[in-house]
Amino acid sequence: MISKYEVLQTNHMIEDDNLDVRTITLGINLLPCVVDDLDRLCVNVYRRITGLAGNLVKVGEEIEKKYRIPIVNKRISVTPIALVGASACHAPEDFVRLAETLDRAAAETGVNFIGGYSAIVSKDMTRADELLIRSIPQALARTERVCSSVNVGSTKTGLNMDAVRLMGEIIRETAIATADRDSLGCAKLVVFCNAPDDNPFMAGAFHGVTEGDAVINVGVSGPGVVKDALVKARGAGFEELCETIKKTAFQITRVGQLVAKEASARLGIPFGIIDLSLAPTPAVGDSVAEILEEIGLESVGAPGTTAALALLNDQVKKGGIMAGSSIGGLSGAFIPVSEDQGMIDAAERGALTIEKLEAMTCVCSVGLDMIAVPGTTSAATLAGILADEAAIGMINQKTTAVRLIPVIGKDVGDIAVFGGLLGRAPIMPVNTWSCEAFISRKGRIPAPVHSFKN
């Protein structure tokens, strides 16, 4: 029988350490909606999403009540819209109408974000892919809940540098289109290399074509729980440090597994994967940076940060893998700047730079995330940063992502405020030496030699 100590420990994690399930994400295949008439396509898409996701929020709330565990977000991901709209959309404006349809469907079901306004262009772009990409600034300016992502490369295909260059321009245009809201649109736009098909986390979630008709994916969280456990391991050797992280990651992931199976059973939709990530929020005590500092750094960004993060990321995976029946998505530690109070503090005190963050992304789950940069940053420089990050993903056979926000009208020393889970971000300085001539080259960077495994 469960002991009093175990009950107290679990409830302490929930109440004091912000243990929660970060997201239940319902993936929906929209390909059955496809017709070549845009009006009918919009109707089909709206009906399919509201039909399948009508109970998502209600079921999420019932599970919260049953276990008294907060489920912070209920979300939807859909088939990349560049595929869904390929035959009905003949101009960027047509795709924007689809985005508005997604937004209405998300509002109707009560989810806070819907992901999948996406194009997968790792090798080359179709006409529809390009139209969708060019529609992103208006789509994100005119909708509230739609999230967009573009996959510009992979280890198998190399980097599509035409798409990288275009995305540099699109990020700038999105920033300008949402300049009145501190360029908020860019916080909902992710540029990937090696994007997974089953990621439940926004803004990069989409329902890949390798998936079934509908799937439940769950993202767990819990940096506060890991931090609290590590306080008790102060001064201990690496063995004990690793054991503590693994045990905690195991417990966090088990909660995710429980919620995922219950949501799947109640909705009658198959369970896909658990994404065992440490996802911070701006709340005090819910920070990945604080874990790194607890491991022994005066401030995140100090020498040793990359090694500490590598250790953390690996132990989270080792602990979590045994706890879940199927692990996928991004899985690891997230290091978004604006969504993590410890990262914000480190950036403000000058301890953390974009270059150090880039090094950190070599060993953690995602990439340069929620970083605000000066509004004057050129499209070419943005594309250069995208290319660097994508190259890390391509060479290391891992997912990397970039969510940069060039905040129009703001410069180093200013703060951009996005609100809610998206947080606030100090504008970080960007290396201003030009990469224009490199970025303006046409074509792609070929796949690396170690991709030839057949």
């Binding site: 009093k4 175990e6 276990y67 088990r254 909660v255 429980l258």
Partner: protein
């Protein structure tokens, strides 16, 4: 088969907390399997493990009812399905 629920009660000690909660449980065919209760500096702290297999109320109604009963005697009562503790603490 048992359907175990963990009831946690925390608040300022007063006369009749256990009585009120147990009365409700017996009225709704809920069997108590284990009780652990302490008082630290006038604070009442109790964890009960109960079996709701024969309970005539749905889980969410039970949770709401017990919260209300708790409020009447000035304590915080919460119900959780045992599975969350099993998942976290048992392999």
């Amino acid at each position: 088969m048992q359907k175990r629920v963990i009831i946690t009660v925390v608040g300022k000690d007063t006369v009749g907390i256990i009585a009120r909660i147990c009365t409700y449980l017996s009225e709704h065919q809920i069997n108590i399997l284990d009780i652990s209760q302490t008082i630290v500096q006038e604070f009442f702290d109790m964890i009960m493990i109960v079996d709701t297999a024969r309970c005539d109320r749905a889980f969410s109604e039970l949770a709401d009812d017990l919260e209300k009963v708790g409020k009447e005697v000035g304590v915080d009562v919460r119900c959780q399905s045992e599975e969350i503790f099993d998942m976290m603490h048992r392999i």
